[in-house]
């Protein structure tokens, strides 16, 4: 596999609705931004790029089949090769990894990944219905198909088994909303308190409206290149910032579509097939897990995402990461729900299974120097969702995983101030970050590692 560099990105302002433009023109905003940030003109980039990958989740939302080719057409990329990827909420993450493969395999030297979603064309409850159609229509959807309901069931199990509290989940909402206060691309820029989160309308007990991301219209775009691609772009006039940002690891995992079908494996199977390298290497952690299992915990059950754990272990191995909390400088993860951010802390090995709640309020995942109005016992170690995540930025599904990649590129280039007009969210001396994209009830999960070259 060849080295793959993430050279530029662009994001449209995520909004409740963008009726002012068609989806192709919203994608073009993100696409043009990525090109302009390279300092290259449009025709020169069109000549340099080999092809693309398009990302969007739902044909229902757009009421338009083959929207990918309509974007390709509008961007002036025909007749170059392209294809559309779809994998629920992980569509954007899958798209980035497909573009990565195009470069790593030698098939392309410059590849652009673009994605969008226009969720405003239907009312919210119809949008919930469309999203719920991404659950088994024989067995799950007819019972009361509602993704917030599915995630709330995971939460009640997590709370029951591990003692997780609604206040711990609310702390995630407070963190991500306050981070987004400094992100001009975010859809929601508010300062909330734990009390605000708990007093907002109940959606699916115990998740309130402020525990859950909103529907959005938006687009994002990322340009990837090989070493030859860098030379070609720079030969065409591009100014690619040094040090370069490289995608050093990718990982993916899957799980059963029906949450009810998830296995409940024993301790030995968990330690053999799913434990992280550091978990396996720690006597204390092995004893901790043995105690959990002795009290009835089984894995993954409905409280954990083995797809996320599988993706993480794969990506960490690829990138040579042994202790993610110490070796990652930031993470942009798929917080469609405050609870799923907390669950993902565990899947990604930032803490042990069962400790996501206490990790959420430890302070380790917060940005340094920001006043969250919370008593945080520990110093920040690895900010999670410094952008504000899905909860505050919004979740135009096909764009979301690419938005994470764009924000990661900007963090690693040290260019947050340039793009946000404010350096509050710049992680100081960010050298390595992870992005995490997640579908369904944990059916597809991708994790990609991006690093600044030394």
């Amino acid at each position: 596999m060849r080295p793959v560099f993430a050279v530029s990105g662009g994001v449209s302002k995520f909004a409740k609705a963008r009726p002012d433009k068609t989806f192709q023109a919203v994608i073009k905003e993100a696409y043009d931004y990525a090109i302009e940030d390279l300092g290259i003109d449009f025709p020169a980039f069109t000549s340099a790029v080999d092809g693309s990958v398009a990302s969007y989740f739902s044909d229902h939302f757009s009421r338009q089949l083959m929207a990918g080719i309509m974007a390709q057409d509008y961007l002036g990329l025909c007749p170059k090769p392209s294809h559309r990827v779809e994998g629920g909420g992980a569509t954007g993450g899958l798209c980035l990894q497909e573009a990565w493969k195009s470069i790593a395999s030698g098939h392309m030297d410059v590849c652009v990944a673009y994605g969008f979603e226009t969720m405003s064309h239907v009312e919210t409850w119809k949008g919930n219905e469309f999203i719920a159609l991404a659950s088994d229509v024989s067995w799950d959807y007819p019972v009361g198909g509602f993704y917030s309901g599915y995630y709330a069931m995971m939460v009640t199990r997590h709370m029951k088994e591990f003692g997780t509290t609604v206040e711990q989940m609310a702390a995630v909402s407070v963190k991500n909303h306050i981070n987004a206060y400094y992100n001009p691309y975010a859809q929601k820029r508010h300062r909330y308190t734990i009390q605000d989160v708990r007093e907002s309308p109940m959606v699916a007990w115990p998740l309130t409206r402020l525990d859950i991301c909103v529907m959005s219209d938006g687009a994002a775009s990322v340009i990837l290149a090989s070493e030859e691609g860098l030379r070609r772009l720079e030969g065409a006039g591009a100014r690619i910032p040094r040090p370069l940002v490289r995608v050093t690891g990718i990982g993916r995992g899957t799980d059963a579509m029906r949450m009810s079908d998830r296995p409940h494996v024993d301790y030995d199977t968990f330690m053999r097939d799913y434990a992280t390298e550091s978990e396996r290497g720690s006597d204390e952690t092995r004893r901790y897990y043995k105690k959990l299992w002795d009290h009835g915990t089984r894995y993954p059950g409905v409280h954990s995402f083995r797809a996320g754990r599988t993706a993480g272990n794969m990506a960490y191995k690829h990138a040579g990461i042994h202790d993610p909390l110490q070796e990652l400088d930031f993470i942009e993860l798929h917080d469609a729900y405050t609870s799923s951010e907390l669950q993902t802390y565990e899947d990604m090995g930032l803490c042990r299974y069962g400790e996501g709640g206490s990790f959420a309020v430890s302070g380790k995942a917060f940005m340094p120097g920001l006043d969250y109005g919370l008593e945080l016992p520990e110093a920040p170690e690895c900010p999670v969702n410094p952008s504000g995540g899905l909860i505050a930025c919004g979740h135009p599904v096909g764009a979301t995983g690419l938005m994470q990649a764009v924000f990661a590129i900007w963090q690693l280039q040290g260019s947050v101030k340039k793009h946000f007009g404010d350096e509050t969210l710049q992680v100081k001396n960010a050298r390595r970050g992870a992005i995490h994209s997640h579908a369904g009830t944990g059916t597809y999960v991708t994790i990609s590692i991006l690093e600044r070259e030394e």
């Binding site: 433009k21 009361g144 917030s148 069931m153 199990r157 309308p201 009810s260 079908d261 409905v302």
Partner: protein, 182 residues
């Protein structure tokens, strides 16, 4: 305690209008002004009826119509699926049908939906639950009745429940639902 809503819900629908504002003359100044117009939005209806087949899962629905709850099991390993699968995920072999109507059952996880998809909005608040059965390896998604949706508590997890069946089958998984054991 939730705050009292301070906004009315947004809905589609309204009046049919005829006549769209547009410059009387298409002179250069008027054409340039078109770039500053707000967008036109129209409503498009989309309705379709699917002929959905339950395929190899069909006997489950026939059983529920006759007040029996089926599951599937891999004959050799005994791995049992509360939500039926025609093939075992570990051996790849076909499963066999078993009757679990009278198996002891408990709530494994639950939620109360106060909001939802359009189709189910009129039924809110309703309780969704995942049910675990004795000697069954996987769970079953269902509606839980006989509990107060306004008094949700984690104590419901582990509660013994029993299946109830609609007298007039709708040939949907909701033909069976669960209630606290008598």
């Amino acid at each position: 305690m939730s705050k009292i809503p301070d906004k009315r819900p947004e809905t589609l629908g309204g009046y049919v209008i005829h006549g769209v504002p547009f410059p009387i003359d298409t002179d250069p100044e008027a054409l340039a002004f078109l770039k500053r117009m707000s967008p036109i939005q129209i409503e498009q209806k989309y309705q379709v009826t699917y002929l959905h087949s339950y395929g190899q899962d069909s006997p489950w629905f026939a059983a529920a119509s006759n007040r029996r709850l089926l599951a599937t099991r891999h004959a050799e390993s005994g791995y049992t699926y509360a939500t039926p699968r025609g093939h075992d995920m570990y051996s790849g072999e076909e499963t066999v049908w078993i009757d679990i109507t009278d198996r002891p059952a408990r709530v494994h996880a639950f939620t109360v939906c106060h909001f939802g998809s359009e189709e189910f909005l009129p039924e809110t608040p309703f309780v969704l639950a995942l049910i675990e059965f004795e000697n069954v390896n996987t769970l079953f998604l269902t509606r839980l009745v006989g509990v107060d949706p306004d008094q949700a508590t984690l104590d419901w997890i582990g509660m013994q429940v029993e299946p109830r069946f609609l007298r007039n089958s709708k040939l949907k998984p909701t033909d069976v639902y669960f209630a606290p054991s008598a």
